[in-house]
Amino acid sequence: MPGLTLVARETTNLGCNCNRSRAGDQMCHQESKVHLSSEEAIAAEESLSVYCKPVELYNILQRRALRNPSFLQRCLHYKIEAKQKKRMQMTISLSGIVNAGAQAQDVLPLYVLLARAVPDNMVEKHSVAYRLSRACVLTAFSESGRERSQATFIMPELNKLLAEAKSGSLSVLLVTSGETRVSSGENNLLKDHSDLASIPSKFGGQCLWGKLPVDSLYSAWEKCASLSLGHRSEMLLTIDMWSSFLEPSCLDVDSCITFQTPHTSGTTNSLRQVKVNVLAHEVGAKERSPYESYAYNDVPTSSLSQIIRLRTGNVIFNYRYYDNTLQKTEVTEDFSCPFCLVQCASFKGLRYHLSSSHDLFNFEFWVTEEYQAVNVSVKTDIWRSEIVADGVDPRHQTFLFCSKPRRLRRSKSQLQNAKHVHAHVTKMDSPEAAGEGSHEDFMEKDADGSSNKLENKKVSKALFGEYHMQSRKRVSECCHPENPCALESMEPVASSSNMFAKTRKLSVERPDPRNHALLQKRQFFHSHRAQPMELEQVYSDQDSEDEVDDDIADFEDRRLLDDFVDVTKDEKQIMHLWNSFVRKQRVLADGHIPWACEAFSKLHGPDLVQVPALIWCWRLFMIKLWNHNLLDARTMNNCNIILESYQERSDPKQS
């Protein structure tokens, strides 16, 4: 699992109340290098809790993703697995013929086929059928060094091969083409299998063939212990070759061949023997360095930090908090994301993942020869409605776009409840200012750190790892001032204590009257009229900026409708009535339409019934709405009932 320091991390941990403690565990321990007063330490601890809410959110998302991972992550996972899968590579070459007097031409070209025996019941007594899976052709002996002197097959890793071996059906076949004849069916037989493309079309007829069962190969490999360590295993085998009649056949879609033993021969006597060299070694496992297969228990703590650095997939995460003056560090392996444990395959991938999936944080990426690291800080400028105060059910909050988020956040209860998510951000000290922190300072802090380490022997290995890294960083910084990355990363930490006092003051003592004075000094202009506003107007509660003048809007609407040439006057009238109704009643969403239709019928019904043409325009319009699934039939019926009731009311009066 990623994150050496994530011992206490449990994804099954539900509920919100636990987050505070959990975050503490996740983010490893509090750095003790910077001297803080107890009061400051508490404040720092509090500022660390800024991480709680976003981390909680991402935990929720990750928990959801467990059951239903995103497409991209599934693909990525598959790719990573495929990359790390072990396989056996088997190379077969022909080293010679045993029988004296046999000519090379008798055997060559020799086809090496990986084939599976077809169960007996399907074929006749004197024949054996095989389903081909892969094929190679040998045209020369191994010594000759010419092309096509060896056949190479990739097979599953040893453990998986066991299953195959048990079934005993998989074998390597050696076939000479013997007397060849051209048969019409062969092209069909082979054309569908790109693997078998190397077999010439004239495959078939009288031949010699030999069998090398995979289970025997397996048992030989199994004994060879060094195979799993990346060593090669080489075997020289002698294979008997029998004469038989080879017949290609097409069973279903797979290509099969059948060997028919001549009835006359009776006993199976081998005609020739060939010597075959089988070379096997593991492939695919090479990418993983030996370090990575060790469990941490076996590693002496002193060398752990080295391993951490050496592993390519290890990424250091520095969590900045307390106005970017303190940081907590954790390490993840396999380029995993510390928030959702997704493995990202490369640092670049991690980079994209972090910035796309965890945008509640700011990330700074830096890579040195020794390690790759990510500086994480919480984005404070994008507090969205996702982050709500404790004890407030987000479902009960009205969803609305708030154009004045600051005012909303400052409401008192919200502030008190959501205090721990409200981070106070100040800019990092400028490099000049940070330069004051001398090397002695670093050394002193270093010493502090190590003494702490000695005292607290029971501290987890992970923490040791981190200490090592920290101290290494400092040493490297002292010795190699040309390493700007390391320097940069340290500056904020060094300049912490002075920063604190300043910012604290600022936030507390910001005077409200001063803002007031600033407001008075400035000239404000009305957003619509661009006219300078009097102070009285600026302070007044009235806000005319969103005002819509209905008369003028109606006028403009009519003007625009007048431009239509192919619309009758009655239609224009209905359009106009509807447009102004929609504007005044703020009919904005599709879901408002049914209500709007009923209300419109009620409002304008008495007038509409006076003019039958208008009423028909209105009905046609409702049908159009119904066509577009904006209006249901029941509501349309209601509207018509309303209109009819008005008609009935008006009719007796007229008559």
Binding site: H528, A530, P532, I552, D563, V565
Partner: protein
């Protein structure tokens, strides 16, 4: 562009001067080194028909035309902002008849100068860009309209300092507005033209209550419910380039682009569909060497004649209301070689003033035969 049917071709005036009237240079005043962009007689007040004003740079100067070609300086105002460059001016007056001089330019601030008390009466801010032309409603001389680079036209009440209407929005100009003019008899109509090559006619009939309200408004001017007029009643594409000057001639419109001519045309609005319409081009008044933009023409009080300068410092005086148009006179002087941006015709057309790029004012007087 406008298509004309057979037999409806516009009448083009002949460039041979009719010698109906002869003009002679009677004075030349060098005001400064900076180009003068506008010059105008005061037609608002009958007492001051011989008073005119010029603007150039950050300076506004008021002169008087006296007998015998004499030009007397009456007042001069200098904007405290040296960067200001006035482009346009217009005479207006207060409800009690005090003459106002309204000027605007690069800064986009309209200065209303009370020429009676020699003070700034008001400054109008609101335009987001420079102001290209200001015109006064002759029937209600406290209403002025301004055309701006910010693609809007605004109607102001100089008496109360209120921005009444803004002619801009969905149907508005799509580039700088260069010129604007009030209809001579229909109080509700204005015409504007600009860099989007169109001439637009606007009606404020539906908004007239706001215009009336502006005269009696006693609250803060910034609280006035300024309205947007978004749709013109007519949009004409008479020209294929910047239209830099337009004036009403009765219900017809005189407009010019950079095509060496002034065009007289009639906007024909269709009854059933306002906004659309056809244009009937009636007459053309050729003006040679008048192919740069921001050259404006002026007319006498009764719109009998129009005077326009050109790139080479010559002035063409056209009889407007005859058909075919008659060139009254062609004025040129060997020492006047630079572009004339604006002319001013006196009430009866007997005096023509021109302001030159080199900061000179030329006075031409009709020779009494």
């Amino acid at each position: 562009m406008v298509k004309t049917a057979l037999g409806c071709e516009p009448v083009v005036g002949s460039l041979t001067p009719s010698k109906k009237r002869e003009y002679k240079v009677s004075n030349r005043v060098q005001e400064g080194k900076r180009p003068l962009y506008a010059i105008a007689f005061n037609f608002v007040d009958a007492r001051y028909y011989n008073v005119f004003a010029t603007v150039g740079g950050n300076r506004v100067t008021i002169y008087q035309c006296l007998e015998g070609g004499v030009i007397a300086v009456l007042q001069a105002y200098v904007d405290e902002d040296k960067e200001e460059s006035f482009y346009t001016l217009s005479w207006a007056c207060n409800l009690d008849g005090t003459p106002f001089l309204v000027a605007g330019g690069y800064n986009g601030i309209i200065r209303v100068i009370d020429a009676g008390s020699e003070n700034i009466h008001k400054s109008f801010v609101g335009h987001g860009e420079s102001i290209n032309e200001i015109r006064t409603q002759a029937l209600k001389p406290s209403l002025v309209v301004s055309a701006s680079k910010d693609e809007s036209v605004r109607l102001w009440n100089v008496h109360t300092g209120i921005c009444i209407l803004i002619f801009a929005g969905a149907g508005g100009h799509r580039n700088e507005v260069l010129s604007v003019d009030f209809h001579p008899s229909d109080m509700y109509r204005i015409a504007s033209c600009g860099m989007d090559n169109t001439v637009k006619i606007w009606s404020m009939k539906e908004f007239w209550t706001y215009v009336e309200k502006s005269f009696t408004w006693t609250d803060l001017p910034s609280k006035f419910p300024t309205k947007y007029v978004q749709f013109p009643v007519f949009t004409a594409s008479v020209h294929s380039n910047y239209v830099d000057c337009n004036r009403w001639l009765g219900d017809f419109i005189l407009s010019k682009s950079v095509d060496n001519e002034i065009v007289l045309w009639e906007p024909k609005t269709k009854e059933q569909s306002p906004g659309e319409g056809v244009v009937d081009i009636l007459q053309k008044y050729p003006v040679p060497e008048c192919d740069i933009w921001f050259i404006k023409f002026s007319c006498d009080f009764h719109y009998n004649a129009a005077a326009i300068g050109n790139r080479e410092g010559k002035i063409f005086v056209w009889e407007l209301q005859s058909s075919p148009p008659v060139l009254i006179a062609r004025l040129s002087h060997v020492q006047c070689k630079l572009a004339i941006r604006q002319t001013a015709m006196s009430f009866d057309g007997s005096t023509i003033l021109s302001c030159c790029e080199d900061g000179t004012i030329w006075r031409w007087d009709a020779v009494i035969s």
